[in-house]
C-alpha cells in the first residue's frame, strides 16, 4: 500500500530522526558551535558546516510569497537555497517537513535583551542637588546623555530570556540599554545560544532616544520640557563640537552623538503626544525618527500619519480590570476602560491609515501571550499579511538589516520557524525556531502525526483495531469493537509509546502496553488484563480523517468610538465653526459703550461681526440670551492646566531654554471643566521653583484640538520669572541649601549674571555656540519676549524693575504680586502690569502682608490689573474672584469684570484680538445665566472662535453618554472575568494636576491623586 497521504512519514525515516536527536543533544551542550578562529579549543575540535535541507514544506518566504512543496537549504547558519526545486546537497541532513510551514523568524527592533537594567543609585526628591554628571570619563555635562553607550559592548547573551523570545517566534532583536535620554547605539543580535561574538550581527545598528532620564541622578532635567530642551541643546552642541572647539576640550558624549547620527534613529515615546513631541524635535534637526509607540497612538491617527514616521507598535494590550466592586470601579476613568477595549485595534488602525509599522514584544509581561496578542490584533482587523510583514520584513528594513533577516532568501541568516500550519491560526503549533542555522525545538509533540487506525496484535492474544484520534499534540485512543467503542489512553514520549485500555465494556481491568514507535510499526511488551506478560505489535491500517474545521471565522469585535480628546467629555467628531446670533442679552462689551441691555451679537467666521439691536439671523444659529448676560471669555493670566509631566524645571536657577509649549496635554479634563466656568484662553506658565523659569504658552481652550491647534496663534512670546521664597528654596527642607541663590540678594545676582551673559553672547561673532538659554534672554533684551514674574514682597519687585531698567527692558507683568499695592507707583513708572490673587494670604512668610484690597489699590494707581487662578479649581470661577474687589475696595462692576477679561488680554498683548465684545475681534464669549459677577451665575455656553465648546444642555447629554458607555465597558470587563480571563486590580486613574508651588494651602489637591511617596 502506498502511503503518500499517510501522516506517519517520520516513522519511516526514523533513523534519520535519531541522528537529529543526537545532534540536538550536542547542540544543547553547546559543543556544536564552530569555534571562532581566535578562540582556543579544549579537547578535540569539532568543526561542522551544519547543512540541512528542509523538504516538502510550505515556505512563506515573505508575506507576499508562499512556495508549496518547497525545500529550504541552509549551511553555516545561512540560507543557501530556497525553492520548490532546490537541489539538496549530498551532505545535507534532510528533514521532511511535509504538511509543515516555514516562516522567517520574527525580528523585534525594540528590545533590551542581554542588557542589564540600570538602577538609579541615589537621588530622589529629598537628596541634595547634583548639578553635573557623575559619569566617569571625559563625557558631557549631563548624565542622561549617554550617546557613548554601545549595546554591543555591554551585551551578554541570556539564554533564559532568549528562550522565551524564541518560543514567541523571534530570531533576531535589536537590543539597547533602555536608560537615559540619548541611549547610544543598539546592536542587532540573534537569539542563538552562542558566544556574543557570534550572535552580534550588526554592532551598531541604531541610535536610541527617549524623554526619560532613566538612572541619571543629576537633577537636570527634572521635567519633560527639560528633557526636550536638553535634546535640542545637545543637537546644537554636537554640531558645534564638530569643529573641536578648544573651549570645550574633549567631550566624548558629543563625539559619540555625532558618530551615531547616520544610523537609524529610534525614539521611545511615552504616549501619543510624546510621538508628536519627538517628531517635532526631529523636524527641527532634520532627523526622521522611527517611533517606538506606547499603545494609545491610534487615538490620533491623522496626527500620527502626519509625522511620516514609521512606528514600532507594542502588543502589551491592557488586561481587563476587576470591576466587580462599584466603589473600586468608580476610580477607573472611562478613558482607561476604552483604552482596554480599543488597544488591540491599534495595529489595524495603523494599517488602515497606511502608516508603516512593525510590532514589538516590548512591555509584554508574559511572552507566551505575544502570539496570542498578534492573533488578537488580527481578530480586531489587522490583516494576516500585514501582521507577518510587521514581524519580519518591515522591522528588518526599518533598520536596514533586510539584507540579513526578515525573509527567507539565499544569503540571509537561517532564522526561520517551522510550524504545523498557517502561523496565525489559533491552534497552529510552533515546532522549531531555527536561529543562525541551529534548531531550537519549541514543541516536540505533534511533529509526528500518529493519528490513524491500527491493527494491534497481542501475542499471546487476539487482534484488535485501535483508532488514534485527537490532535497531533495530544492524541486520544479508542478501541473499536463490534458493538462498543472503548476509550483508552495513549501517551507518546519521543519514540516511546504506552497504551492502556480495557477489553470489555464496564470492565475494571486494563490492558497495559509499552513499546517503541519503530519504522515497521509499533511494537513492545506489556501485561494483559490478568497480569500475564504479552508482546505486541501494531500496524498502520488507515489514515485519520480529521473532522472539518467548524470554528467560525471570528468577526471583528464591536468597539466604541474614539473621542477627541480621549476623555468621557470628548467629541465624537470635532465641532465646526458656525455663524451664531445671540439675541436679546445683557452684553458687557468692555468697550466705551459699556453694558448694553437687550442687545444682539452676531458671530460670523469665528469673529464678532456685529453688536446691535434686532440683528437679522440669516443662516446663523440663534441662541436666546433673554435674561442672560454675555461677556467676553475669561482669560486666565496664570494657569498650569494641560501640562504634561512637570511644570517646573526648577533644577537650575536659569532654565529659559525650556518651553511649556513643548509639553501641552490636550486631554486634560481641566480644559473642559474650565470651559464650564467661562474660561476661553489660558496662559500656561512654568512654575516658580527657579529665578528664570521657562517659556510660557498661551492657549485657547479648543477642547478636542491637538497641542499645536490649542496654541494661540501669533501671540507675543512670554517667559516666567520668579522671586522670593520659592527660588531661594526657603520651604524645601534642610537638604536643599546649596543651590544659588539662597537669599533675595542672590536672586538679584542670578538675574544680573544671566542678562550680562546674554548681552555678551549677543555680541559674539558668528560661529558661536548657539545657546538656547541665552537666546531666550536676548529676546527679552530685544523686547521680543516678555516677562511675567512671580513675586510677592515689595523689595524684590523693586529690585527686578531696577535690573530691567539697567538692561533696558520692561517687566511686562508681575504675577501674584501680593505686595504690589506697596510699590504700585513704582510699577506704574516702570510700565509693569499686575496679575494677582483676589484674597490669598497667610500660606507663607512672604504673603503675610497680602491684602484683599491689593487689586483695588493697584487699579486706583492706574496699573493694568488682572485676577488669575494659578489653580485648576479656582479658574472655574474667576468671575467670582474678580467680584471680590467690589467688596474689597469698592471697584466698579465693569472694572471688576475687566480684570478677568480685557486686562489679562492687555497684559498678554492680545487685546486687539480678545477681551472685549467688538466687531472684528475673536468670538470668544460666555453666556451667563445671571449677573456675571454674582456667585449665582453659571456659564450656560462658552464659545471660542465662534464654536460652542461648552453647552450646559449638551453637558447633560454627555453625562448620560458617560454613564452608558461606562456601564457597557464594565459589563464587558465583568464578562472577561467570568470567562476566566486574567484580570488586574481596578486601577484608579490619576490626572496631572499642577500648580506653581506645592507648599500652598490655597491650591486644590485632588483626592485621588494623593501622594504616593509617603
Amino acid at each position: 500500500m502506498e502511503q503518500p497521504s499517510v501522516p506517519i512519514p517520520t516513522v519511516v525515516r526514523s533513523r534519520r530522526i535519531k541522528i537529529i536527536y543526537l545532534l540536538f543533544a550536542w547542540l544543547l551542550a553547546g559543543a556544536y558551535a564552530k569555534a571562532q578562529e581566535t578562540f582556543p579549543v579544549n579537547g578535540v575540535s569539532d568543526p561542522r558546516e551544519g547543512c540541512f535541507a528542509l523538504t516538502h514544506a510550505t515556505i512563506v518566504k515573505d508575506a507576499a510569497t508562499t512556495l508549496q512543496d518547497a525545500t529550504l537549504v541552509i549551511r553555516d547558519g545561512r540560507i543557501i537555497n530556497v525553492g520548490p526545486g532546490a537541489a539538496i546537497p549530498k551532505d545535507a541532513v534532510v528533514i521532511d517537513c511535509k504538511g509543515k510551514y516555514i516562516y522567517p523568524s520574527f525580528v523585534d527592533i525594540y528590545s533590551d535583551y542581554g542588557t542589564q537594567a540600570v538602577k538609579r543609585s541615589s537621588g530622589g526628591f529629598r537628596a541634595p542637588p547634583q548639578f553635573l554628571s557623575n559619569t566617569k570619563g571625559a563625557f558631557g555635562w549631563n548624565q542622561a546623555i549617554k550617546s557613548e553607550v554601545q549595546a554591543a559592548s555591554i551585551f551578554k547573551t541570556d539564554e533564559a530570556k532568549a528562550k522565551t523570545l524564541r518560543q514567541a517566534g523571534f530570531g533576531t532583536v535589536l537590543t539597547h540599554q533602555q536608560d537615559g535620554i540619548a541611549r547610544g547605539t543598539g546592536a542587532l543580535v540573534t537569539l542563538a545560544d552562542e558566544k556574543e561574538n557570534k550572535v552580534v550581527i550588526r554592532e551598531k545598528a541604531s541610535a536610541q532616544y527617549s524623554f526619560d532620564k532613566g538612572s541619571s541622578t543629576q537633577n537636570y532635567p527634572g521635567s519633560l520640557m527639560g528633557a526636550i530642551a536638553l535634546l535640542r541643546q545637545t543637537y546644537l552642541d554636537a554640531q558645534w563640537y564638530k569643529n573641536r572647539p578648544a573651549k570645550e576640550g574633549v567631550n566624548l558624549s558629543l563625539q559619540a552623538w555625532n558618530d551615531v547620527q547616520s544610523l537609524p534613529q529610534i525614539f521611545e515615546a511615552g504616549d501619543k503626544w510624546d510621538v508628536l513631541r519627538a517628531d517635532k524635535i526631529g523636524d527641527e534637526f532634520g532627523v526622521q525618527y522611527i517611533i517606538k509607540a506606547a499603545g494609545n497612538e491610534y487615538q490620533r491617527i491623522p496626527e500620527m500619519a502626519a509625522t511620516k514616521a514609521s512606528f514600532i507598535l507594542p502588543l502589551n494590550f491592557p488586561q481587563a480590570m476587576d470591576v466587580e466592586d462599584p466603589n473600586d470601579a468608580r476610580f477607573v476613568a472611562l478613558s482607561d476602560l476604552k483604552q482596554w477595549e480599543m488597544a488591540p485595534a491599534a495595529p489595524a488602525a495603523f494599517e488602515k491609515a497606511g502608516i508603516p509599522f512593525c510590532l514589538t514584544a516590548d512591555g509584554m509581561k508574559d511572552m507566551k501571550q505575544f502570539l496570542a496578542n498578534v492573533r488578537k490584533a488580527i481578530e480586531y482587523g489587522l490583516t494576516e499579511q500585514k501582521a507577518l510583514d510587521a514581524l519580519t520584513k518591515v522591522p528588518a528594513a526599518l533598520i536596514k538589516a533586510d539584507d540579513k533577516v526578515g525573509s527567507l532568501e539565499a544569503g540571509k541568516l537561517a532564522n526561520f520557524l517551522v510550524t504545523s500550519g498557517p502561523l496565525f491560526k489559533e491552534n497552529t503549533i510552533l515546532f522549531h525556531n531555527w536561529v543562525q542555522g541551529k534548531r531550537y525545538v519549541l514543541n516536540e509533540d505533534g511533529w509526528t502525526d500518529i493519528r490513524g487506525t491500527y491493527t494491534l496484535t497481542l501475542s499471546p492474544g487476539a487482534t484488535y483495531t485501535i483508532l488514534v484520534k485527537g490532535t497531533p499534540v495530544s492524541p486520544a485512543l479508542l478501541l473499536l469493537q463490534q458493538q462498543d467503542t472503548l476509550a483508552g489512553t495513549i501517551s507518546v514520549d519521543g519514540k516511546l509509546v504506552r497504551l492502556a485500555f480495557p477489553l470489555a465494556k464496564r470492565s475494571s481491568r486494563t490492558l497495559r502496553l509499552s513499546g517503541v514507535l519503530a519504522d515497521q510499526g509499533w511494537s513492545g511488551n506489556g501485561q494483559d488484563t490478568s497480569g500475564n506478560a504479552v508482546k505486541w505489535s501494531a500496524a498502520f491500517a488507515k489514515a485519520f480523517a480529521a473532522p472539518a474545521d467548524t470554528t467560525k471565522k471570528k468577526t471583528s469585535p464591536d468597539i466604541g468610538k474614539i473621542y477627541y480628546p480621549f476623555n468621557g467629555y470628548g467629541w465624537e467628531t470635532l465641532p465646526q465653526q458656525k455663524d451664531i446670533l445671540i439675541k436679546n442679552a445683557t452684553v458687557w462689551t468692555n468697550e466705551q459703550q459699556g453694558k448694553l441691555e437687550n442687545t444682539d451679537v452676531l458671530v460670523r467666521g469665528g469673529k464678532i461681526a456685529q453688536v446691535g439691536k434686532n440683528l437679522p439671523a440669516g443662516n446663523a444659529l440663534v441662541i436666546d440670551g433673554t435674561g442672560k448676560h454675555l461677556t467676553p471669555g475669561v482669560i486666565d493670566e496664570h494657569s498650569h492646566i494641560a501640562i504634561t509631566r512637570g511644570v517646573n524645571e526648577g533644577t537650575q536657577s536659569v532654565t529659559s531654554e525650556v518651553r511649556i509649549g513643548d509639553v501641552l496635554n490636550p486631554d486634560d479634563i481641566n480644559i473642559y471643566r474650565q470651559l464650564s466656568g467661562g474660561v476661553t484662553s489660558s496662559h500656561l506658565l512654568h512654575g516658580s521653583a527657579n529665578t528664570i523659569g521657562g517659556q510660557t504658552q498661551l492657549i485657547k481652550l479648543r477642547w478636542g484640538a491637538d497641542a499645536e491647534q490649542l496654541k494661540f496663534a501669533g501671540w507675543d512670546p512670554f517667559i516666567k520669572f520668579a522671586l522670593g521664597e520659592n527660588v531661594k528654596q526657603s520651604n524645601w527642607g534642610e537638604s536643599q541649601r546649596s543651590r544659588f541663590p539662597q537669599t533675595r540678594m542672590g536672586v538679584e545676582q542670578v538675574l544680573t549674571d544671566a542678562f550680562t551673559r546674554a548681552r555678551d553672547y549677543e555680541r559674539q561673532a558668528a560661529g558661536k555656540r548657539r545657546d538656547l538659554e541665552l537666546d531666550a534672554l536676548v529676546e527679552i533684551l530685544n523686547k521680543k519676549r516678555f516677562i511675567t514674574c512671580h513675586s510677592y514682597v515689595q523689595s524684590e519687585i523693586n529690585m527686578l524693575m531696577h535690573v530691567a531698567d539697567t538692561f533696558g527692558f520692561t517687566v511686562n507683568t508681575f504675577t501674584h504680586i501680593l505686595e504690589g499695592y506697596k510699590v504700585a507707583d513704582k510699577m506704574k513708572q516702570h510700565g509693569a502690569g499686575a496679575s494677582t490673587f483676589a484674597d490669598w494670604w497667610a500660606y507663607k512668610m512672604e504673603v503675610q502682608d497680602a491684602i484683599a484690597y491689593n487689586a483695588s489699590i493697584m487699579s486706583g494707581v492706574g496699573l493694568t490689573v488682572a485676577i488669575n487662578s494659578d489653580d485648576a479649581e479656582m479658574a472655574r470661577r474667576l468671575n467670582q474672584e474678580a467680584a471680590k474687589s467690589i467688596t474689597y475696595g469698592g471697584m466698579a462692576e465693569e472694572d471688576a469684570l475687566k480684570m478677568v477679561t480685557l486686562n489679562p488680554a492687555k497684559l498678554l498683548h492680545i487685546s486687539d484680538r480678545v477681551g472685549s465684545i467688538k466687531p472684528g475681534k475673536d468670538a470668544d464669549l460666555v453666556l451667563w445665566s445671571d449677573h456675571p459677577l454674582s456667585i449665582y451665575a453659571k456659564a450656560d455656553k462658552t464659545i471660542v472662535d465662534g464654536i460652542v465648546y461648552f453647552d450646559r444642555e449638551r453637558d447633560l447629554e454627555l453625562r448620560k453618554r458617560i454613564a452608558a458607555e461606562r456601564n457597557r465597558l464594565i459589563q464587558k470587563m465583568l464578562g472577561e472575568k467570568k470567562k476566566g480571563a486574567p484580570v488586574q486590580k481596578a486601577k484608579p486613574t490619576k490626572d496631572d494636576l499642577w500648580n506653581c508651588e506645592d507648599m500652598e494651602s490655597g491650591h486644590q489637591h485632588s483626592i485621588i491623586n494623593g501622594d504616593d511617596e509617603q
Partner: protein, 434 residues
Amino acid sequence: MVKKNFIYIACLAALSGVKAFAQETVYPAPAQQKALLLTNATIHVGNGQVIENGSIAFANGKITAVGANAQGEAGAQVIDLQGQHVYPGIIAPASSLGLTEVEAVRSTNDYSEVGELNPSVRALVAYNTDSKVINTLRSNGILLAQTVPEGGMLSGTSSVVQLDAWNWEDAAYKSDDGQHLYMPQLLPSSNPFRAAQQTPARDRVKEALEKIEQLRAFLREAQAYAQESKHAETNLKFEALRKLFTKEQKLYIHCNLVKEILLGIDIAKEFGFDAVIVGGADSWLVADILKQQRIPVILAQPHSLPVTQDDDVDQPYKTAAQLQKAGVLFCISNEGFWQQRNLMFEAGTASAYGLTKEEALSAVTLNTAKILGIDKVTGSLEVGKDANIAVSAGDILDMKSNKVTHAFIQGREVNLDNKQKQLYERYKYKYGLK
C-alpha cells in the same frame, strides 16, 4: 437718634481707619451693657425663615425678640439698618483657625501632633486668639469656629471658639466638643511603576484596613477601661475617650470616599458613638444610607474639583443640594484657616447649584450649630439664643455684595477692623486714594 448717629460715625471711623490703630489695639469687646434693637432689616433667621422689614432685639448677650414688630427692652439703643440684611453669625466648622499663622513656617504650626492615637490632645490650648487671621474672618461675618487638631488617626479633641477674645479660655464656646478620627484612605496606588519599586510591593488598601482594625482594638480596650471608674494605673488616652462612649462628645470622622464612609459608620455603630462625617466628597453616593443611619456630614468645600474625571463637572457644587434632597443633616465647611473668610461663598455656590438661599445659609449657621451640638445657644436668630449676629449691606453669600457693617458676638459689638484694612488705609494714604 443721637446715639444711633454716634454709632454710625464710630463705625465709619473704624472702617475708614481715621483712627489708624494697629490690630494690636483692636480690643475684644466687653460684655453687652446696653440692650440693642436692630430695626428696618431683612432678617434671615437661619432656619429658613426670612422676616422682611423686621427687627431684632437683644440684651445681656441673648436675643430677646425677633419679628416684624419686635420690640427692644426698655431703654434699648436702636440701630436703623436701613434695609440691610441680618444673619446669624456664620460658623466655620473643621478649621485650623488659630492653630497656625504662616503655613509654610513650621514654628507657627500647632495643628498636627505626632503619633497615631492621641485622643488626649486638645486643640483649644493652642488656639491663638491673637492670630491676625481671626479678624479677617469676623469682618466677613464669621463669628464662631471649630478649631480642629490633625495628625495620625485619632488626633484629639476640637473646641468651638468665638472669635472675639483675649485668650483661649475666653474664646471657648464649647470646649472639647468632639474627637477627630482621620480615616486612612482606602484607595489603591494607581502608579504600578512606583508600587513595583517598593519591595515588597505595598498594598495601601490592606495597610489602611489593618490600621483601622488596630483602631478598633484600641477603642475596645478604651471601652472596657471606661466601664471601671478607678484604675491603679491611669491611662490618659483611655480617660480622654470616656466622653465619647457617653456621647458627651462626638466622633468626627474625616473621610471622603464611600468605603471610608461606610467603615466610619460601622465604627460608630459598634461603639454607639455620636458620629459626624467630615469631608464626604463622595457622600452623595451614599446619601440614603447617611440619612437612614442619621449620620450628619460636615461637607468639604464645594469649591473643589470633581473626584474623578468622569464625574459631573459641577458635582462638588451640587453635592450639598443632593444631601439636602435626601434629608441628610449637613453643613458646609472650608479647608484651612485664612480660607475660612470665603466660607459663606462656598454656601453661595451650593445655592447656585440647587439649595435655596436660606438652605444655603442654614448650611453655614443652624445646621452647623446642630452638628457641633451648639444649636441650643446659637445658629439661628431665635429668642433665647446668644446674640451672635452679622449685619451685611447685601447678600452675605455673594462676594459681590457681602459687606458686613456690624457684628455681635454674645451681644457684644465686635470691632470689624483687621490688619488688611489697616494696610489698605496706609496705602490709600500713600497714594492719596479715596
